[in-house]
């Protein structure tokens, strides 16, 4: 309404309300100034340009062509400036949003974690599930000694084998089925042998083996890693 009042003081006709209403209902949009641009012949029409342009050309520094050119440039500037100012908040946001791609993973030591002792693993070859207890950083928290995942350990001909509990298909938790003495993923029915190899189902690769070390004669240390699901070979997540 500001515009209309200014124009008013320069001696234009004040649009009466009925005419405005009619204009609104005739038009797709309800902005009064646009209505007046479209409809220059009506008494409602009173537009800044009609008042100001003659005054400018009297001063004589622009021709109609120059004016068009200058207007084009102004429009261009409007778009550029508008683009820049609205890009700033998005830019800042997206920069912060992309942080996970660049954040360094904290890596202390060789990545091996002590899981248990040899005696805790059943001697008859049945796999046993063990929680992996480690420190974990979760954004603003640092948790000491919490379970960060789980693994299966089993004895196989005098050696110990470590398998990840996370399914290589899409990451569900693989079950040990005592009734059939095998591994089974309850999500999409992938079925694995005790050595981790695929029996049936949709998993693209066998269960992920983890590197294992026996330290101090009886301590079982495992290099605990998570892997990308869906590939036919294990790619560590980092």
């Amino acid at each position: 309404m500001d515009n209309n009042e200014e124009i008013n003081s320069e001696g234009c006709t004040v649009p009466n309300q009925d005419a405005v209403d009619e204009a609104i209902s005739n038009s797709d949009s309800a902005i009064v100034s646009e209505v007046s641009v479209d409809d220059r012949s009506s008494p409602v029409a009173c537009h800044l340009s009609e008042v100001k342009i003659p005054a400018e050309s009297e001063e004589g520094f622009t021709s109609e062509v120059d004016l068009e050119e200058r207007r084009g440039f102004v429009k261009f500037l409007c778009i550029v400036i508008g683009g820049i100012v609205s890009a700033v908040p998005f830019g800042a946001g997206i920069w912060a949003y992309l942080n996970p791609l660049t954040r360094e993973k904290e890596g202390g030591g060789d990545g091996f974690i002590k899981i248990t002792t040899l005696d805790a693993i059943p001697a008859n070859g049945t796999p046993a599930k063990f929680s992996v207890i480690a420190d974990k950083e979760d954004a603003w928290n640092k948790f000491k000694n919490i379970s960060v995942g789980a693994i299966y350990l089993l004895k196989e001909g005098g050696k110990v084998k470590a398998l990840h509990t996370v399914c290589p298909h899409l990451g569900c938790f693989i079950d040990y089925r005592s009734s059939k003495n095998d591994f089974f993923c309850p999500c999409h029915n992938s079925n694995f042998k005790l050595d981790g190899s695929i029996v049936s189902g949709v998993s693209p690769r066998p269960m992920d083996p983890l590197k294992i070390e026996i330290r101090n004669k009886e301590e079982v240390w495992v290099k605990f890693q998570n892997f990308q699901p869906g590939h036919d070979h294990p790619i560590p997540l980092s």
Binding site: Q17, D21, I24, S25, A30, Y97, L98, P100, L101, R103, K105, T116, T117, D119, A120, P122, A128, K129, S131, V132, K136, D138, A139, W140, N141, S147, V148, G149, A150, T165, H169, L170, G171, C172, F173, I174, D175, R177, S178, S179, F184, P186, C187, H188, N189, G201, V202, S203, P204, E218, E219, N226, Q228, P229, G230, H231, D232, L237, S238
Partner: protein
């Protein structure tokens, strides 16, 4: 009043706006089939309102999310109602979306000039599904955690930039705080904002082109107001009533136990309207690295096809093709959903699935109960991790149940409602019952005749049914051991009943006690039970009973504290008999150390400390320095920590918070 309204109208033009909104022409008059768009707008409105109020009670961090949702659900007045409406309306939305989409397709409302609006609709559908997906994770319970993991892992399959996308969605390599903050920002910010924009556009475009009348037109043209508005209002009422029915029936919405990355949840499933996609991925066609086809390519192509439908529909045949495709899709998706459900409740792994649901339910109830009783000092998960009732059975099943039993099972069985008759047992194993009822029984689970003499003689339900013995049955959800136990059953360990049974010669050498161990040939049986006790007269039998009382009192079991106190004099007599008449101290130390005897020390027998010391090292000279039979030294060999052994001991001794009588709503 009128003047005021006129003034407002003059400054805002509200009157003409309302007029325009209400006096939209509907060719052929109002119809019930046009209500779906309005019910969807209404559902969105309900979700926005309840969502914002939920927001006032919700905290998006991995240590707070479950805790805050539990607080909303179980502690806040009206919280269950608020959460229930949000949950159940979210369940209604896919149905409404589908009805809306089908109406638009069947009536040909998607064709030129309404292509753009149809696309708006398709995008809206995707956005609403995205809201459901992001919402599912917010409670940070086992169900949402594991199911959403599968969904975000799917992002990994996107060609070239999959792993990066996944990292951005998850907010790192692992699930954590930032997964929740990101999901919540999407759920309550970005997606609702986009939806509002698109809905405005959708309705604007709809008004621009007008409604597509369903032919043949049955009535005269009419305005939107009031006939269609009335029908829309009735439809919204019906939607709200249905939702409220479920909200009240379920007293809000289900909350499973707090998310735990180290605890499997074998019943992780997406919400029902995503089940067909979930089942789709099980197809052998998408095995190995063809998975990306099932997960990404085919679904994207299908959405692409839907977007092309306005052009295909230009021809009459094309229209029939479109409608046919959608019905075929519905049929296929319906069949896959059915298969998924069917596999879960009756497939070859249904016993595992159903048991996982029970396990989770137990943990969930326990977490809620502990949160209410003890308060949450750190996290709800930590409450569970330090709770003997929760951890005891799990540790027992893993470390002890290869030799011992607990009431004949591995400690983790669930007692189910008794079956009153064989017929009842059979009825409850039907797959319909398993689908629909919480007291269903899987044929692979265990049952035993009620009141049978030997308390831990379980058979699979299948075996019971085929044996055809009439009677009432106790039922538990557990699987049968292949081998007989080789060490005592520890249910009620050191209680009066347990010791009295132990001291019966025939019981001592049964598999419930020492039948599977070398001790069945030891002095306790050969020299004492089988030589002396077997010939006891009534008076001696009475003395032996008092000895049992006295020995049991050593355990200081919380369950027996009352009777132990009441029977103080009897227990004193029992102690005398133990020392003098029955002379247990010939072979056992009692009240003072005695390095010369063979049998385990009876001082404090069955007390917390006694159990912990024993489990740490059964070969200690206090216990079985020479005759220990296979039991590992769990503490000495670092198999279990002292804390873990304590959890097992407390659980065996029934020494934990039992739960209040005030009901937990869930």
């Amino acid at each position: 009043m009128k003047a005021l309204f006129n003034w407002i109208d003059h400054r805002t033009g509200i009157r003409s706006l309302t007029k325009e909104a209400l006096f939209e022409n509907i060719p052929g008059g109002s119809r019930w089939r046009y209500v779906w768009g309005s019910t969807l707008t209404f559902a969105l409105f309900v979700q926005f309102v309840t969502g914002v109020f939920l927001w006032m009670g919700y905290s998006a961090s991995s240590g707070d999310a479950w805790e805050s949702v539990n607080y909303i659900q179980n502690e806040m007045t009206g919280g269950w109602l608020l959460r229930g409406i949000h949950h159940w309306m979210a369940q209604a939305m896919p149905i409404l979306l589908l009805l809306h989409l089908m109406q638009v397709l069947v009536d040909g409302a998607y064709k030129a000039p309404r292509e753009v609006n149809f696309w708006f609709g398709v995008i809206l559908l995707k956005l609403v599904l995205a809201l459901s997906l992001t919402g599912y994770l917010l409670p940070w319970d086992q169900k949402g955690y594991w199911a959403t993991k599968v969904a975000t892992n799917l992002a990994n399959l996107v060609p070239f930039i999959g792993p990066e996308i996944q990292k951005l969605v998850v907010g790192g390599t692992d699930y954590g705080h930032h997964t929740l903050t990101r999901f919540f920002a999407l759920h309550a910010g970005v997606l609702p904002a986009l939806i509002v924009l698109l809905v405005v556009g959708h309705i604007y475009l709809f008004r621009r082109h007008g409604i597509t009348p369903a032919e043949p037109r049955k009535k005269k043209d009419a305005y939107f107001w009031p006939d269609q508005v009335f029908k829309d209002a009735v439809a919204c009422l019906a939607v709200m009533a249905t939702v409220m029915f479920f909200v009240i029936w379920y007293h809000g919405a289900h909350l499973s136990s707090p998310a735990d990355p180290s605890e499997p949840f074998s019943a992780a499933r997406p919400d029902w309207y995503f089940l067909y996609l979930f089942q789709f991925l099980k197809l052998p066609a998408f095995a190995g690295n063809k998975e990306v086809w099932g997960a990404i390519y085919i679904p994207s192509m299908f959405v692409g096809l839907i977007c092309l439908m306005p052009f295909i529909g230009k021809w009459k045949v094309g229209h029939f093709f479109n409608v046919g495709v959608m019905f075929a899709f519905l049929g296929g998706a319906g069949a896959l959903t059915y298969l998924a459900k069917h596999e879960d409740v009756s497939g070859s792994n249904s016993a595992i699935y159903l048991k996982a649901l029970l396990d989770n339910e137990r943990d969930a109830r326990r977490a809620i109960e502990l949160a209410r009783h003890q308060g949450i000092e750190t996290t709800a998960l930590n409450l569970l991790k330090t709770d003997p009732k929760t951890q005891g059975p799990k540790l027992f099943a893993q470390h002890c149940a290869s030799c011992h039993r607990y009431d004949g099972h591995d400690g983790l069985a669930h007692s189910l409602l008794d079956a009153k008759s064989l017929h009842d047992l059979k009825r409850r194993t039907s797959s319909f019952q398993r689908f629909a009822s919480s007291e269903a029984i899987h044929p692979d689970w265990l049952a035993r005749l009620k009141g049978g003499a030997k308390t831990n003689d379980w058979q699979t339900v299948q075996a019971v049914l085929s044996a055809n013995i009439e009677g009432s049955y106790e039922v538990i959800a557990s699987t049968k051991f292949k081998e007989a136990p080789s060490a005592p059953d520890l249910k009620g360990f050191a209680s009066r009943q347990w010791i009295i049974e132990l001291l019966k010669p025939e019981m001592y050498i049964s598999s419930r006690f020492f039948g599977g161990t070398v001790h069945k040939d030891g002095d306790m049986y050969r020299r004492f039970l089988n030589r002396k006790v077997i010939k006891y007269n009534d008076e001696e039998k009475e003395m032996l009973k008092l000895v049992a009382l006295a020995l049991s009192a050593e355990a200081k079991l919380p369950l027996q504290s009352n009777i132990d106190e009441a029977d103080e004099t009897l227990i004193k007599q029992g102690v005398d008999h133990l020392i003098d008449d029955i002379s247990c101290i010939n072979c056992h130390a009692f009240q003072e150390p005695d390095p010369d005897v063979e049998g385990p020390d009876l001082t404090g027998y069955g007390s917390r400390q006694w159990i912990i010391d024993f489990v740490k090292n059964p070969e200690h000279e206090k216990f079985y320095p020479e005759t220990n039979d296979r039991m590992p030294s769990f503490g000495k060999k670092n198999i279990l920590t002292e804390k873990e052994i304590g959890l097992i001991a407390d659980w065996i001794r029934d020494d934990y918070y039992k739960g209040s009588n005030s009901s937990v709503t869930n």
